[in-house]
């Protein structure tokens, strides 16, 4: 298993949060555009 602290790994942290904002924002945008195109 693991001993001691994991150093760094910040790229994963950044990637995860960036992906979250990208996906949530992207979905929000897609909802907005679909709404607009129907109206």
């Amino acid at each position: 298993m693991m001993t001691g602290t994991i150093q760094g790994g910040y790229e994963f942290l950044v990637a995860g949060y960036a992906l979250t904002w990208f996906v949530l924002g992207g979905y929000a945008l897609s909802l907005y555009r679909r709404y607009r195109s129907i109206r």
């Binding site: 602290t5 994991i6 790994g9 995860g16 909802l31 709404y35």
Partner: protein, 220 residues
């Protein structure tokens, strides 16, 4: 009046976004790093809330499908479809975040952990639900076919979880993430609620799209 309604809607959206950003900020900068995992542990503040809220979304699909079977009111069918779509988005995100979290902490991109595996199965189940819906053109038929499906697939969720858990204990591989340090509970809850508000708004707006589409179809 239209104008004031959309003003209120925009305000609510803005509030939800602000709260979300606040919760994310809190999780990233104000909560302590984990003893073992360091700052990478903070991925939990996006991964777990997404998982919880996806599950809530699927529960909504279940209840709405069930009520539709009884009431036959198209409102419930639209709600089920909307919740399913948002749920699938969140589940997909959960899975990828789980993978991103797993790599630095356990050294692997994927682990057959009971919860992660169940989430993957959920993903398949509800993508299937949406796919089936997309193949039926007539909205009445679609609703009448989707509703029993929406009920049946949710019934499988606890069964899947238990059977996968037993399966994993037979093989005794990696254990799941340890229980949460009380210092982190606040950040977790903040983010969970933030994403809950996002979930509700997503479902609401997706519902509006479904409603407009149905109205258009009727007009034709």
């Amino acid at each position: 009046m239209q104008n004031s309604k959309s003003k209120i809607q925009s305000f609510i959206v803005l509030m939800a976004v602000a709260f979300f950003l606040f919760a994310q900020y809190w999780g990233l900068f104000k909560s302590p790093p984990d003893q073992l995992m360091g700052h990478v542990q903070k991925l939990m503040y996006v991964h777990v809330p997404c998982a919880w809220n996806a599950f809530i979304a699927f529960f909504v699909v279940f209840i709405s499908s069930f009520i539709y079977l009884i009431r036959k009111n198209p409102f419930w069918d639209r709600l089920a479809a909307s919740a399913a779509e948002v749920g699938v988005v969140l589940t997909g995100l959960t899975l990828i975040l789980g993978s991103i979290w797993g790599r630095p902490t356990w050294g692997v991109w994927w682990t057959w952990d009971a919860r992660l595996t169940t989430t993957a199965i959920l993903f398949f189940l509800y993508v299937g639900y949406l796919t089936m819906r997309s193949f039926v053109g007539d909205k009445d038929r679609r609703a009448r076919l989707a509703a029993p499906l929406g009920v049946i697939i949710f019934l499988n969720v606890p069964i899947v979880y238990m059977s996968v858990r037993w399966w994993r204990t037979l093989h005794q591989v990696q254990s799941s993430p340890s229980t949460v340090d009380p210092n982190m509970v606040l950040s977790l809850r903040l983010n969970a609620f933030a994403i809950l508000f996002v979930l509700i708004l997503f479902i609401y707006h997706r519902y509006q799209i479904a409603l407009l589409k149905d109205k258009q179809e009727e007009a034709l």
